[in-house]
């Protein structure tokens, strides 16, 4: 698996894509593989204010429960209902159509501390 270079990666195995002051967040391919068959996903309501590092939801496989951590502070402006309805998408396209939430942030530069694709690839080796 080669990780997309236009994304940033957290130690908790979330990815973040920055477009202006909007940050799209999901879980990485490494995370979905570690989880196995994803059967449940819970996401926050639109409008919720998140702190950096705060739990924003949960993803569950048949065997495991895993919290989701926000890589940045901001307001949730979108949540991907389609993965709540069909969590198996997280195993198929974690970096694309199975995105989780979109956060509006006042400080996108805070994401600079996250890993790039090369560093994350090394981190998960």
């Amino acid at each position: 698996m080669s990780y997309p270079t236009n994304l940033k990666y957290s130690k908790d195995h979330e990815w973040a894509k920055i477009e202006g002051n909007k940050v799209t967040v999901g879980i990485t391919d490494h995370a979905q593989k570690a989880l196995g068959d994803v059967v449940y996903c819970e996401l926050p309501s639109v409008g919720r204010i998140l702190k950096a590092g705060e739990t924003f939801g949960v993803v569950e496989s048949i065997k495991a429960v895993s919290d989701l951590y926000s890589p940045i502070a901001g307001k949730v402006v979108a949540a991907n209902q389609s993965i709540v309805d069909d969590p198996a998408q997280l195993n198929q396209d974690p970096h694309g159509s199975a995105w989780m939430i979109q956060i509006e942030t006042e400080n996108p530069a805070a994401l600079d501390s996250l890993m790039d694709a090369t560093a994350y690839t090394a981190y998960t080796k």
Binding site: G36, Y40, E60, S61, I62, K63
Partner: protein, 376 residues
């Protein structure tokens, strides 16, 4: 250092994801829990269960000793038959659940849980001391044979047909919870037990430790056509959960007694004295406080071990989930739970506390999964 079964390299070759399970390095999954689970229900799954402990109990007084050790009435089974049972502490708490195979009138093969093997052997030896005090001249030998066996389970509707390809022994003559000692066509002496932990028909095969890899590969080859699928501990757990088979450390523990754990059917209070009997009788007379039930969530979520259960108003805590998952066969979020006796009847609505939200659930009949009727 984790212990490895004789099949360790086979698991690596198959891409199994290895984890620590009760001190053993075993695959939790190969291709994925869902796919493995469904393959076992529709065709056949093959499992390495060599981590299970085996204890041989022999001698003219072996049966009398085991009758004193366990909760079930061992005198009910014939040579060639197996019996599921529990063994208890003096206070009625469950030491472990086990299967006993009667190989001869004076020879029994006792199979216990992997994570409990050392505890169980120590307990059996303690009880042996008590038994010997009462029966000073008894003829009784106990030996831990756990390291001598590879145990492979082949389970599912196609399991018997697959195993049959490898032996001249007529497996159709072996009924459920019976066994036979014979050999494979390759000459390997094998103990064929029609037992399992999946709710499916199938066999558990015991062979000499170092014969494991060859037998495992032969079963694979034989079952290719039928779609035999290697299954890890993950699928083993969801398969047993769907049929509400208890698991030590979840439904069973040193703190639970057999009647509340739903093991009344393997507890004979009329067979004579056994370790824990007095405490179990006392608990029965006092009235059971809780019951082991099956439930499904009505609202979204997945119940997991340790989640608290409340009455439907959400005010009173009435129990706890012991095992739970998203059931691959029924597609329901299911759980096994201890709840207060008065709220344990089928149809009762309760609430499961999932990360602070009290989610509506209902007690439903078990097993959760029932095999489709045979179309013969």
């Amino acid at each position: 250092m984790l212990k490895r079964t004789a099949l360790f390299e086979e698991h690596q070759k198959l891409g199994g994801r290895l984890i620590d399970f009760g001190g053993w390095e075993l695959p939790v999954q190969y291709s994925g829990v869902m796919q493995e689970h469904l393959a076992c229900r529709s065709a056949a799954g093959i499992f390495d269960v060599s981590h299970m402990g085996e204890v041989l109990v022999e001698g003219a007084d072996a049966e009398a000793f085991l009758m004193f050790l366990i909760t079930n009435d061992l005198s009910k089974i014939a040579i060639g038959q197996a019996q599921y049972t529990a063994m208890c502490h003096e206070n009625g708490g469950i030491v472990d659940d086990l299967i006993i195979y009667k190989r001869a009138k004076d020879r029994f093969f006792v199979v216990v849980n992997a994570g409990n093997t050392d505890k169980d052997v120590n307990h059996i030896l303690e009880i042996d001391k008590i038994f010997r005090k009462k029966n000073p001249n008894c003829d009784l030998r106990i030996s831990n044979e756990s390291h001598n066996y590879t145990q492979i389970a082949v389970q599912g509707p196609k399991a018997a047909a697959i195993v049959q390809k490898l032996t001249q022994l007529d497996l159709s003559q072996i009924k459920t919870y019976w066994f036979a000692e014979g050999q494979l066509n390759s000459g390997v002496p094998t103990f064929f037990a029609r037992t399992g932990y999946t709710g499916e028909d199938g066999f558990e095969l015991y062979v000499a430790w170092d014969q494991g890899p060859a037998v495992w590969r032969a079963l694979f080859e034989a079952g290719k056509e039928e779609g035999i699928t290697p299954c890890g501990l993950g699928a083993r757990d969801t398969l047993r959960l769907e049929v509400k088979y208890p698991l030590y450390g979840h439904e069973l523990s040193d703190e639970t007694h057999p009647l509340e754990a739903g093991l009344g059917w393997v507890t004979s209070l009329t067979k004579g004295d056994f370790v824990g009997r007095a405490a179990i009788v006392q608990a029965k007379e006092a009235g059971l406080k809780r019951a082991l039930v099956g439930l499904k969530l009505i609202e979204r979520g997945i119940p997991r071990q340790g989640y608290a259960i409340y009455d439907v108003s959400g005010d009173r805590r009435i129990g706890e989930i012991t095992s739970g998952t998203q059931s691959p066969s029924t597609k329901l979020a299911i759980g096994i739970a201890y709840v207060a006796k008065e709220l344990s009847t089928v149809g009762t609505q309760v609430r499961v506390d999932i990360r602070g939200t009290k989610v509506l659930a209902e007690i439903i009949p078990t097993p959760f999964y029932k095999k489709p009727k045979e179309t013969a």
